[in-house]
Subunit: 233 residues, 2 copies
């Protein structure tokens, strides 16, 4: 009869909101630990159950399915972001701090990168960040829908820069891999693409970690400058 409703953990009452013992909180905490240690593939309902010395399927009493669990841990990550008050530090400084903090939190919890854009961000922490971000852009002088476009643009940039960075870290970092050989192999790949080869050679001369920092800053001020031009005069 009634159509299937938009589903998300945040739309369902948790069972026993403040019960002692095993609870959503405990489960989420254990899940985050497991994720930090073993990554997204390392989290299975069975392993998590074991970690809580519970039957593999006990968790299904607290959570409808694995996706709901992921929504919960995803929101944890939003809770770690620093949200300065734009009225105190100015809108541009507030945005800069938030942006760097978002990047850092994702780098600290690489599994969250794969969750972005796969899960809706409707948890209280995510909403709080979104709300404050909107306050920052209103403080800057944006009106009406432009405020939302500006938010979307900035978050797109932050996530779009950071997600590939995480992927790169996990690819190049994990196995002991011979830098010489890798360099030879990549050099060979780029050989046929003249423009790219120059870029590759340039990037080789620097520490990759600082290159990515610099790239992030370069992009961030560019985006903010571009947005600022859209302010009503």
């Amino acid at each position: 009869m009634s159509g299937k409703t938009f589903s998300s953990v945040w739309l369902r009452e948790p069972r026993k909101p403040a019960s002692p013992g095993r609870s959503r909180q405990e489960i989420v905490k254990a899940a985050v630990e497991l994720l930090d240690e073993e990554g997204l593939d390392g989290l299975s309902m069975r392993k998590l159950g074991a970690k809580l010395s519970a039957g593999a399927t006990s968790l299904y009493w607290y959570v409808a399915n694995k996706d709901e669990l992921l929504e919960l841990v995803y929101d944890e990550v939003w809770g770690k972001m620093r949200v300065p008050d734009p009225a105190e530090v100015g809108w541009r400084e507030a945005v800069l701090v938030l942006a760097h903090s978002m990047r850092q939190v994702i780098l600290d919890h690489p599994w969250s990168a794969e969750l972005i854009g796969r899960l809706p961000a409707l948890g209280p922490n995510a909403l709080h960040v979104a709300n404050e971000m909107r306050a920052m852009f209103k403080q800057a002088g944006f009106k009406g829908p432009d405020t939302d476009y500006a938010i979307a643009t900035l978050t797109a940039f932050i996530f779009g820069m950071t997600i590939p960075e995480v992927a790169w870290n996990s690819k190049s970092g994990t196995p002991e891999l011979d830098p010489e050989e890798m360099h030879a192999v990549l050099g060979q790949i780029f050989a046929r693409y003249p423009h790219m080869r120059e870029g590759y050679e340039l990037s080789q001369r620097e520490n990759p970690r600082v290159v990515r920092e610099v790239a992030f800053d370069f992009g961030l001020v560019s985006v903010l400058d571009g947005l600022e031009r859209r302010l009503p005069t």
Copy 2:
């Protein structure tokens, strides 16, 4: 002894480069069809084997593992992007066309959104696009590493805007879901966040598809304006 090397399909010689019959090409084509029909979760080695009327495990002769197969289909998607010649149409027009085309291709093949940032883009099609993109920014006047920062910024924006758009489409589109109820539920969620509520109400007045188009355009010109300011004078 020698460390594990950076692994990617593109670094291994394909078996029988141009053999008739079952081949990488056939496999990739079938895989893309399966993905378009059933999405990323719908692609399994067994199903793909069946579709090719082959044993489930025959594919392992052409491809080392599923990730390699995904790298191959991912590069297919890069092959669909329109790459205008900046010398003909001007750098800014070229970038605009490419950006819109990248967005559209991802919307057309939603499964590709989840692959971005999970897989390295080292296929010939991806490299070609990257190479041409670099040509566009050099044409604009960028020098040295700034060229790469500009590329990174623009692609971050494009992917960062489009990935969540795909997620939203698949969440809100698939089930028959009551718009009234959804509106009520979201309204309730946003009630506690004053800034966000305004944004939500504004967005409700428009067709969501055109809202996202407009947001993309707004962000795109902002990003390009911001980058342009970084050009040497």
